[in-house]
């Protein structure tokens, strides 16, 4: 198993809490960092995580409708997500999609705005609206989270509830190496933001499960339409993600050449490098 404290001592998503229906004897196993983890509930209904033999206990918590496991010693509490309980928001899990790629590549792709006209043509972007205007990126000194703000994009169909093209405003927040969320213009309530969360379960260094959660102000669309939209988007990203060579993310050296539009990705790689990330990172130049 990896010795990288960045993943060993962090909270990592292992699946929907609903897979262990409260009070039931339901259990399931999940793969995390190349290990098998057994999830169940104890007599008091609290989640329990052990190794396969049931000998080793791991730290586990149930939060934001998911189960989070730490295979080492948790360094800090899980990130805050106050909008999860904000009145009027609809919380919808869009399921987990397996992808034969580094989880760091999956997160970086989510933060990437320049690919939208090419990979999500007619939905999240379209030629000739390809230019990426300057936006701001900073690391919050208190929380050590990355924030990218004032990302402005012309989108043909930004969401299920969008009736036509609109100029969308995005902000990205990266809470952990494998967790991020996107605040985007809410078509139904322009003063508010809809939120798309991407929580990546690193199955091992080059395979991942991508869990997507919506926190939307949308009481008109059907669940199935919202889920189908999100799965269509991820289905378009999947072949790209599975065709990076090298598969692991280079955070150092000159193997890949970014442009100004990649400011969030540049900050993400620098942030990973500053904490000495080794798991799922490409070694060498």
């Amino acid at each position: 198993m990896t010795q990288d404290p960045n993943v060993l001592n962090d909270w990592l998503v292992v699946g929907q809490a609903g897979k262990l229906a409260p009070g039931s004897r339901g259990r399931f196993s999940a793969r995390l960092l190349g290990e098998e983890v057994e999830l169940s509930r104890d007599g008091q209904g609290r989640p329990r995580a052990t190794d396969r033999a049931g000998r080793r206990e791991f730290a586990v918590q149930e939060r934001y409708s998911y189960l989070w496991v730490c295979l080492g010693e948790p360094r800090k509490p899980l990130f805050e997500f106050p909008e999860f309980v904000q009145p009027g928001r609809r919380i919808l899990d869009c399921g987990a999609i397996g992808v034969a790629a580094s989880g760091l590549r999956v997160i970086e792709n989510f933060l990437d705005v320049a690919h939208l006209p090419y990979v999500h043509t007619d939905l999240l972007g379209k030629e000739p609206h390809t230019e990426v205007a300057v936006y701001t990126v900073e690391v919050d000194a208190q929380t050590d989270e990355i924030w990218a703000r004032d990302v402005r994009l012309w989108q043909p169909k930004a969401a299920v509830s969008a009736s036509g093209a609109l100029l969308a405003k995005y902000a990205y927040r990266v809470m952990q190496p494998f967790s991020t969320m996107l605040y985007k213009t809410c078509p139904a309530r322009p003063a508010e933001n809809d939120i798309v969360c991407l929580f990546v379960q690193p199955v091992d260094e080059t395979s991942s499960l991508a869990h997507t959660l919506l926190a939307y102000f949308d009481d008109a669309s059907e669940d199935r339409d919202l889920i189908a939209f999100q799965q269509t988007i991820f289905g378009q990203d999947k072949p790209i993600l599975e065709n990076h060579r090298p598969q692991r993310l280079p955070i150092d050296g000159r193997l890949e050449t970014p442009a100004r539009c990649d400011a969030t990705s540049i900050a993400y790689r620098r942030w990973l490098k500053s904490r000495g990330m080794r798991f799922s990172v490409h070694a060498g130049n």
């Binding site: 320049a114 006209p117 790209i240």
Partner: protein, 215 residues
């Protein structure tokens, strides 16, 4: 290792929107044909985010990456346009690694070492009809010694006759226990090339069995 290695038949790399994935010497290539007709052999990896270029398209004589639409010019592989910054000039030298490439005997050949070899590809121009490539489950020495029993070995090229067909085979070590055999023949009058190609391929299949398990 031989300087020139056969990679894909020429006819597979057509002009237009066609990018072919090829492998030689453990490297992966994106092959395409520019408007001028020249074949391009490029490292199959975009300079920006390392996505395979074979996911891209050919538009206006540029290879366009499928991920962010970066455009690359034939010849030196220089990036000419990044759609996220339409007005910004592209730094010189930002581009794809290109490899020397040649066409001979209906085949595209690359030089994986990156240096242009002085000699031409090992193909004998007389054997103009490329039939197909086989993989034999044995090392290249075993393949060569079995073939040598009924023909002539010169370097890594075997020539011989099977039935009415004059055949040339180029042997390439793929892995310690795998040899790739590229099979050509001389075109015969009075037989359709497709039929002759099928005939040679069929006879060579039984020869491969003997190469893999010599008596």
């Amino acid at each position: 290792m031989e300087a020139w290695q056969p990679i894909v038949p020429s006819h597979e790399v057509t002009k237009g929107d066609c990018i072919v994935q090829g492998f030689a010497d453990g490297l992966e290539f994106a092959l395409w044909r520019s408007a001028s007709g020249a074949v391009q052999a490029w490292q199959n990896r975009c300079a920006h985010r390392s996505v395979r270029l074979t996911l891209g398209r050919i538009i206006d004589d540029r290879l366009v990456c499928g991920y962010h639409g970066w455009r690359y010019a034939p010849g030196d592989g220089q990036c000419t346009y990044r759609p996220a910054h339409p007005g910004a000039p592209v730094p010189k030298g930002l581009g794809i690694r290109t490899y020397p490439v040649a066409e001979a005997a209906g085949m595209v050949w690359v030089a994986p070492a990156g240096e242009a070899p002085r000699a031409s590809p090992a193909a004998d121009a007389g054997y103009a009809l490329f039939c197909r490539a086989f993989v034999a489950r044995c090392d290249v020495h075993q393949a060569a010694s079995v073939l040598a029993r009924q023909g002539k070995i010169d370097g890594r090229t075997w020539t011989g006759k099977i039935g009415d067909d004059d055949i040339a085979v180029h042997l390439l070590s793929a892995k310690p226990d795998r040899t790739t055999l590229y099979v050509w023949c001389r075109e015969l009058a009075g037989i359709d090339p497709t039929a002759q190609r099928q005939r040679v391929s069929a006879t060579f299949k039984s020869l491969r069995a003997r190469i893999e398990q010599p008596a």
